[in-house]
Amino acid sequence: MRLMLVLLGLLGAFAAPLAAQDRLPPAPYAYEQLRDPAKEARAKALMEELRCLVCQGQSIADSDAPLAGDMRHEVRSKIAAGESPDEIKAWLVARYGNWVSYDPPFDGATAFLWLGPLLFLLLGGWLAFGRFRRGASDDAEDSA
């Protein structure tokens, strides 16, 4: 199944066809880090949760697509200018919607996504622990 992922990768960003691509060098901050390690760490963390717009399921932190490079440049430039990762993310979400972030917000449409696992765990726990209680009380039945 990983085959398909890779096929997508091959056909998508990391082996982008040369013909339909610009011939400009990448933006300065596309492949260059910020000098301040603390700022770079913040930029890196943000880039890892931003979705590349033109790839199949890759973050902008690990795509060679030119637009992903330009988005990295945008993120690093804004971080360098002192903006916080949350501000940058909000700025991008205002333009591309929640699709651009791999970290979905908690709202009406995603409530079940975030709470579903908890509900599942509680329901399963309730069923399982019901067993334990009974199990502990009637040891005699065990030999039956």
């Binding site: 610009d22 011939r23 400009l24 637009l67 988005m71 945008e74 333009r95 591309y96």
Partner: protein, 176 residues
């Protein structure tokens, strides 16, 4: 198990799962990412000319009272070539068109204009896609309908088709 209904829970979950599958098979996913920056003022920018002989583009110039199109394109973009005749037709219909050239070199833009015509009043050069990103645009070509106050009213993704031309003219007329 004392609660017999519990035994039907897996079946119910499977039903939901299959509901999602059927929904997706019936309504295939929309692959284009639409801009959310609609009915909002044009982001501020001041782009240098994309090539010699054509003016650059400033966002303040887009609020001069005349509704217009802003076409996001690139010389390296093959569908953009197919769009050129429709842009010419729009220009002939009296629609002002400005261009934003994405990640492009001046000599390539010049060649593109020579070969496919120049319907643009101004072309700004967006070397690092920063204006494209500020517009919420994710590909080329894309066209934005701007009203006279410089507010983005609509985004058209992909090539403008010949049959869309009169529609666009009418929409811009209505914004006047």
């Amino acid at each position: 198990m004392t609660n017999r209904w519990v035994l039907f829970v897996p079946l119910a979950i499977m039903g939901l799962l299959f509901g999602a599958f059927i929904y997706r098979l019936v309504t295939p996913a929309e692959t284009l990412i639409q801009s959310q920056w609609i009915d909002k003022p044009m982001p501020l920018f001041d782009l240098p000319p994309a090539t010699a002989g054509v003016a650059g583009l400033k966002s303040s110039q887009l609020a001069d009272g005349k509704p217009r199109l802003v076409n996001v394109f690139a010389s390296w973009c093959i569908p953009c070539r197919a769009e050129a005749p429709q842009l010419e037709a729009l220009k002939a219909a009296g629609v002002p068109i400005d261009g934003i050239a994405i990640r492009d070199r001046p000599e390539d833009v010049a060649m593109f204009l020579r070969e496919y015509g120049n319907p643009f009043d101004r072309i700004g050069s967006d070397m690092q896609s920063s204006v494209q990103i500020a517009l919420g645009s994710s590909g080329v070509p894309e066209t934005f309908l701007i009203d006279g106050k410089g507010v983005i009213r609509e985004q058209i993704q992909g090539v403008i088709l010949a049959e869309q031309v009169p529609e666009i003219v009418a929409k811009l007329e209505a914004m006047k």
